[in-house]
């Protein structure tokens, strides 16, 4: 009898766990299917054919396309997996370089005053201080370059993972980043050649080369990172608008059935206003983004404005999402509301 009890207990555990597996599976496959369907609807050509600023009556301008589709390209699962692995590897390299950089910096801070005092002294102790400082300067520069390179590699993988960029735009941006990585590798190699006995002038030159390369890189990094974030925000806006259509349809059904929908309609208006505000800020951020790309030199000021609009857009979407939870709670509270939601969903899928 003990065996029967043990078997029952085991069955209980397995049966209990099964719903988790199915729920996860159903969740992700449903979402992907919906997104794929959205992406390829109407048999339109591949999104990569669309370019920013394309003429009227011809190809759809990229921004309009971005506001139309949830996905701008389909990325194979295997490719996504490789990008995620590379991102993790770059993240680890970044952390190691950051730690080594901090160690070198701490040592330089400790010896900085003594190094300056030793400039006019030729003692054995001063020679040692000079040697150590140069070795630490080398480590600081090499790891500084490594930090930036690893950070650029992470950014590259984020671009690779974004289905909100067309294949063409992603390739263009990745090539831009690769060019910066190559430049930084070159500057890093110069720094790697430094040693305890290097001439101070060589250390200064290497530091200057890395600093200049970093200044040129910063612009590329800021703009591409902002683009990845903005593209994601654009995706949330599109999904929110599609969801709003469905909610409107569900409410219309309830209204036709004579149900009181005033409360839920007020919430949907609130949801819609927040999404609209997010969309306005998204567009303003995109304007700033385009302005930055067309501007030579330092774009920090423009990017700051773009970031501020993106933060506002993000805030608007978070507010919308909080209201959405209330809308769904209200609708699902009644059987009629639940049914109207399901019908709106199946009608949309049938279209």
């Amino acid at each position: 009898m003990k065996k029967v009890m043990a078997a029952l207990m085991l069955a209980m555990v397995f049966l209990g766990l099964m719903p988790f597996a199915f729920a996860r599976q159903g969740d992700s496959s449903g979402t992907q299917a919906q997104m794929d369907a959205d992406s390829m609807q109407d048999g339109q050509p591949e999104p990569t054919l669309y370019r920013a600023g394309a003429g009227e009556g011809g190809l759809m301008p990229q921004r309009a396309l971005e506001m139309e589709r949830v996905q701008l390209r389909q990325i194979a699962a295997s490719r996504l997996q490789v990008a995620r692995q590379r991102f993790e590897a770059a993240r680890n390299r970044y952390q190691t370089a950051k730690q080594n950089y901090a160690n070198a910096q701490a040592r330089i801070t400790q010896t900085r005053a003594r190094y300056n005092e030793c400039k006019m002294e030729e003692t054995a102790e001063c020679n040692q201080v000079r040697k150590e400082t140069k070795a630490n300067a080398r480590n600081l520069l090499v790891n500084g370059a490594d930090r930036v390179i690893a950070s650029l590699e992470k950014l590259k993988e984020k671009i690779e993972l974004s289905d909100r960029l067309t294949e063409e735009e992603a390739a263009e941006r990745i090539a831009e980043i690769d060019a910066r990585i190559a430049e930084l590798q070159e500057a890093k190699e110069t720094a790697e050649e430094l040693g305890e006995d290097s001439d101070p002038e060589d250390v200064k030159e290497a530091a200057n080369q890395i600093r200049n390369t970093w200044q040129n890189t910063k612009r590329v990094m800021q703009m591409n990172a902002a683009r990845v974030v903005n593209a994601k925000i654009g995706g949330v806006i599109v999904k929110s608008e599609k969801l709003q259509e469905r909610l409107d349809n569900a409410v219309a059904k309830l209204s036709e059935e004579g149900q009181d929908t005033s409360e839920v309609e007020a919430l949907i208006d609130e949801f819609s206003a927040s999404v609209e505000s997010a969309k306005n800020h998204y567009n303003l951020a995109m304007d700033k983004h385009e302005e930055a790309r067309a501007t030579e030199g330092d774009v920090s000021g423009i990017m700051k404005e773009a970031t501020s609009h993106m933060q506002e857009a993000h805030k608007g979407l978070k507010e919308a999402h909080a209201v959405l939870a209330k809308v769904l709670r209200q609708m699902k509270a009644t059987r009629a509301g639940q049914q109207a939601l399901e019908e709106a969903e199946s009608e949309e899928e049938g279209e």
Binding site: Q34, V203, Q222, L328
Partner: protein, 69 residues
Amino acid sequence: MRKQLIFAALSLLVVSALLTGCAQPPAGPAEATDIDDDLKALEELDTDLDIAELDSLDKEFADLEAMFS
């Protein structure tokens, strides 16, 4: 013993029903879950790309350059 068996079978049903309820995706259509995930991913993106962390490099490289001048 029969009582124990009935109790175990009932427990099985209750636990299974409870877990099924807990494992359901959050209320609402798939997009609602998607949006939730996207908003979380957005929060992480800034830290992931550590742009702010690298801001101090300018000054630090310049300080080093000055030190060896």
